[in-house]
C-alpha cells in the first residue's frame, strides 16, 4: 500500500501542530466558536449530542496492520475502547475530549494517518472498491488512481471552499461495489482498444434529493483523468449554488441545468486545463503504482485443508458460503470480517478486535486490510488453506458471523444515539432486525437482502439504495420509520420507492418481518433474490405485506 512520502509526513505533522495551536487559542478565548468551528471541521472534529466526534480518514478503505493497531491504541487511550467504521470507510471516535484531539492527531501522524478533509466543503475521502487489487472481475487496481486523486485534492487551494462537500468514488471492476453513481463524481474503469480509462458520472447523491449519477463522458483515458476531474470541479465551483445549502451539491446543478449543459461547461474547461498538465501527474501515478504491487501469492500449496473443513464443519461452511468472494488467484479468497454480529452495533470494532484483525492480516493476509462502505473489514488476500484457522480465530473474538449480504448485514448510521443532525435512532432498529431474524433462523433461507437504515434525511445510512431502506424521522417528537423498496447500490443503481406511511419504533420490526415473509411467499424459488422479485412483480405484493389491514379494508 501507499507509504507516506516525506512531503506527506511533514504536511500531516504540520496540520496536527496547527490544530494544537487552534485548540489552544480557542480555549484561551482568542478564538470564538464561530471562528473555531470551520477550523475544527477541516480536521474532522464535530460536536455531537454527547461529546466531540473525531472522524479519521481511511483513504480508499486501505489500512495497514500497524495503522489499525494505532487506532486501537487511540481508542483505548483517549476514547472508550472502540471505533465506529462508517459508510465512507472512515473511522469515528465518539467520545474524545477537545484537549486530547491534538495528541490523537500526533498519534495518527506517527503511522501516516490524519483527519484532513473528512469534513467541510472540500473533496472528501476518496472511496474505492473494497476488493481492489484482489477481485477476480477487476480490470485493474483502482487505488493508484484514488491515491493520485487524494494527493491532487488534498489542500488544493481552488477546492477548499466549494459550494458544498464533494465525494468521489472509483471502481476498477464492471461490478460496482463502491456505489459510484451515488457520488458527485463516479469513476468506473473501462478498457477500450487496449487503453485504460473511465466512464465518468456526475451528480449522483443520496440525502434529501437522491439521484443516480449521469454519465458526463463515456470514456476518459486514464492519462486525462486529473485534468478532467479538475474541469468538473471547476465547472461546479462556478455554477454550484451557494445561496441555499440544500441545493448546493453538484447533483442539483446537474438536475437544474441538465447534463448536456454541464457537459458543455466541463468539456470547455477541460480544453483550457488539459495543456497545463505536462505529464508530471503521470510520473507521480507511475511512482504510486509501484506501491500497490500485488502481494507475493503462493501457488501449489493446495487447498485440501479448506475443502476438508468445508465438509467437516457446517459453521465454517456457512461462513465460507457467505463471507468469501472470488480472488484473482484460484487458491486464494477475499475474506470479509463481519462487524454485524447479531445484536451488536453495526460497524463498531473494539480495540481488542482491531488488534486481532491486524495480527491475522499479518499472519494470514499479506498485511492487507480494507474497510468497506458496508461497515465491514476485508482481508483481500487469504490463502484458502488458511481460512479455517482464520475463521476459528475470528469466531473466538465475536468476528465470525456468517452474514455477508444477508438481512443482518445492515448498514446503519449513528442516528439519534449520537448524531446532532439525526431525527431518529438507527442502531437499535438494526440490532432488533438482526436479532429477530437470527431467532427465526431464516436469514440464510432469505438469501441476499440488503437493509440500510438512516436516522435522518441526510441518508448517511444509504437507505435509498437498500433493497429495503428504512428512514428514521421525527413526527411530532416521536420516532417514525419510513420504508423504501427496491433500492440498489450496484452497477444497476436504483433509488428505492417509498412504500407508504411510516411505522413507529414498535411497529417497524414486525413490519419488516411481514415484508420479508411476503417476499418468501411470492418468490419463484430460493434463487430469486428480494430485489429480483421486486423488479419482477413491482411494489404491490410488498406493500400488501407491509400494510395488511389497509389491504383488507
Amino acid at each position: 500500500m501507499y507509504q507516506h512520502s516525506e512531503f506527506d509526513r511533514a504536511f500531516v505533522v504540520d496540520r496536527a501542530a496547527r490544530f494544537r495551536d487552534q485548540v489552544h487559542r480557542r480555549i484561551s478565548g482568542a478564538l470564538t466558536e464561530d471562528e473555531f468551528r470551520p477550523l475544527r471541521l477541516m480536521n474532522g472534529v464535530y460536536l455531537q449530542l454527547h461529546a466531540y466526534m473525531f472522524r479519521i480518514a481511511i483513504p480508499y478503505g486501505t489500512i495497514s496492520p500497524d495503522q489499525l493497531r494505532q487506532l486501537a491504541h487511540i481508542a483505548d487511550r483517549w476514547d472508550k475502547g472502540y471505533g465506529h467504521f462508517t459508510t465512507r470507510t472512515n473511522i469515528q471516535f465518539n467520545w474524545p475530549k477537545l484537549v486530547d484531539i491534538p495528541d490523537m492527531m500526533d498519534s495518527l501522524a506517527e503511522v501516516g494517518m490524519h483527519a484532513i478533509q473528512t469534513s467541510g466543503n472540500t473533496i472528501r475521502n476518496v472511496t474505492a472498491d473494497h476488493f481492489a487489487g484482489a477481485a477476480a472481475d477487476e480490470i485493474a487496481d483502482p487505488r493508484p488512481y484514488a491515491e493520485l486523486i487524494r494527493q491532487w485534492s488534498t489542500d488544493h487551494p481552488e477546492f477548499q471552499f466549494l459550494p458544498r462537500k464533494f465525494k468521489i468514488a472509483i471502481s476498477g471492476s464492471p461490478n460496482d461495489r463502491a456505489v459510484v453513481k451515488s457520488h458527485d463524481i463516479g469513476l468506473r474503469m473501462l478498457s477500450r482498444d487496449g487503453v485504460t480509462g473511465f466512464e465518468v458520472s456526475v451528480g449522483g447523491g443520496l440525502g434529501r434529493t437522491p439521484l443516480v449519477g449521469k454519465v458526463v463522458r463515456d470514456f476518459v483515458p486514464a492519462v486525462d483523468l486529473l485534468p478532467y476531474l479538475e474541469a468538473i470541479l471547476s465547472a461546479y465551483n462556478t455554477v454550484g449554488r451557494r445561496d441555499n445549502k440544500f441545493k448546493a451539491r453538484l447533483k442539483i446543478a446537474v438536475l437544474e441545468l441538465g447534463i448536456e449543459h454541464i457537459r458543455e461547461l466541463v468539456e470547455a474547461r477541460f480544453k483550457e486545463i488539459r495543456p497545463q498538465f505536462d505529464g508530471s501527474d503521470q510520473q507521480v501515478l507511475a511512482e504510486i503504482a509501484t506501491q500497490f504491487r500485488a502481494p507475493d501469492l503462493v501457488s501449489g500449496r493446495g487447498t485440501e485443508v479448506y475443502d476438508a473443513a468445508r465438509k467437516a464443519d457446517p459453521i465454517f461452511r456457512a461462513w465460507s458460503d457467505t463471507n468469501l468472494h472470488g480472488h484473482k488467484h484460484p487458491d486464494y479468497a477475499i475474506a470479509t470480517i463481519s462487524l454485524k454480529k447479531h445484536g451488536e452495533t453495526p460497524g463498531d470494532a473494539s480495540s481488542d478486535q482491531m488488534r486481532l484483525i491486524a495480527d491475522l492480516a499479518e499472519k494470514l493476509g499479506h498485511g492487507d486490510i480494507r474497510i468497506s462502505h458496508e461497515q465491514n473489514v476485508v482481508l483481500p488476500h487469504v490463502h484458502k488453506a488458511d481460512l479455517p484457522v482464520l475463521h476459528a480465530a475470528l469466531r473466538e473474538a465475536g468476528l465470525g458471523t456468517a452474514n455477508l449480504g444477508l438481512i443482518s448485514d445492515i448498514i446503519a448510521c449513528p442516528g439519534l444515539d449520537y448524531c446532532a443532525l439525526a431525527t431518529a435512532r438507527s442502531i437499535p432498529i438494526a440490532q432488533q432486525i438482526a436479532t429477530r431474524f437470527d431467532e427465526l433462523k431464516l436469514e440464510h433461507e432469505i438469501g441476499e437482502l440488503k437493509i440500510k437504515i438512516s436516522g435522518c434525511i441526510n441518508a448517511c445510512g444509504h437507505h435509498h439504495v437498500g433493497h429495503i431502506g428504512i428512514l428514521g424521522l421525527d413526527r411530532a417528537g416521536v420516532e417514525n420509520y419510513q420504508v423504501t423498496l427496491g433500492g440498489d447500490g450496484t452497477e444497476t443503481m436504483a433509488v428505492g420507492e417509498r412504500a407508504g406511511p411510516g411505522f413507529s419504533k414498535d411497529e417497524i420490526i414486525p413490519a419488516i418481518e411481514r415484508l420479508v415473509q411476503g417476499y418468501l411467499a411470492v418468490r419463484e424459488d430460493a434463487s430469486e433474490t428480494f430485489l429480483q422479485a421486486y423488479r419482477r412483480l413491482g411494489p404491490e405484493p410488498f406493500k400488501a405485506a407491509l400494510y395488511p389491514a389497509k389491504e383488507a379494508a
Binding site: R26, L47, H50, K80, P96, V99, T345, D474, G477
Partner: protein, 100 residues
C-alpha cells in the same frame, strides 16, 4: 391562536469535553438536567438566553431545549433531549454511566 409556550431549559455542550451541560437558576453550568432552571415563560426565556450567551465562555451552541417538569426537577421534553441528558441506547455510556 398563538401556540402556548412549551417549557425549556438552557443547554449547551461543554467546550473542553463536549458533554451536555445545563444552566441553573444561579448561572452555573451543570451536567445534570434535573439541576437546570425550568423556564415556563417566554419573556423570561428570552432574557435568560441573552444572559446565557453573555456568560457562555465554555458553553458551546447555547440553545433552548424542550423540557418538562418532573418530581426531581426538569425532564427531557423531546427524545433528542433524552439522549443528550442520559446517553446513547446502544452502550451504557455517557451520563447514565457516570451517574451509576
Amino acid at each position: 391562536m398563538a401556540r402556548a409556550f412549551e417549557p425549556v431549559v438552557i443547554s449547551a455542550n461543554d467546550l473542553f469535553d463536549g458533554r451536555t451541560i445545563y444552566l441553573t437558576g444561579k448561572d452555573e453550568w451543570v451536567p445534570h438536567l434535573r439541576q437546570a432552571e425550568l423556564i415556563t415563560d417566554e419573556e423570561h426565556a428570552r432574557h435568560r438566553m441573552a444572559h446565557a450567551l453573555a456568560l457562555s465562555d465554555h458553553a458551546v451552541g447555547v440553545f433552548l431545549a424542550p423540557a418538562k417538569a418532573g418530581p426531581d426537577g426538569p425532564e427531557p421534553g423531546h427524545p433528542r433531549e433524552a439522549f443528550r441528558a442520559y446517553g446513547p441506547s446502544n452502550y451504557f455510556h455517557g451520563k447514565q454511566a457516570e451517574d451509576a
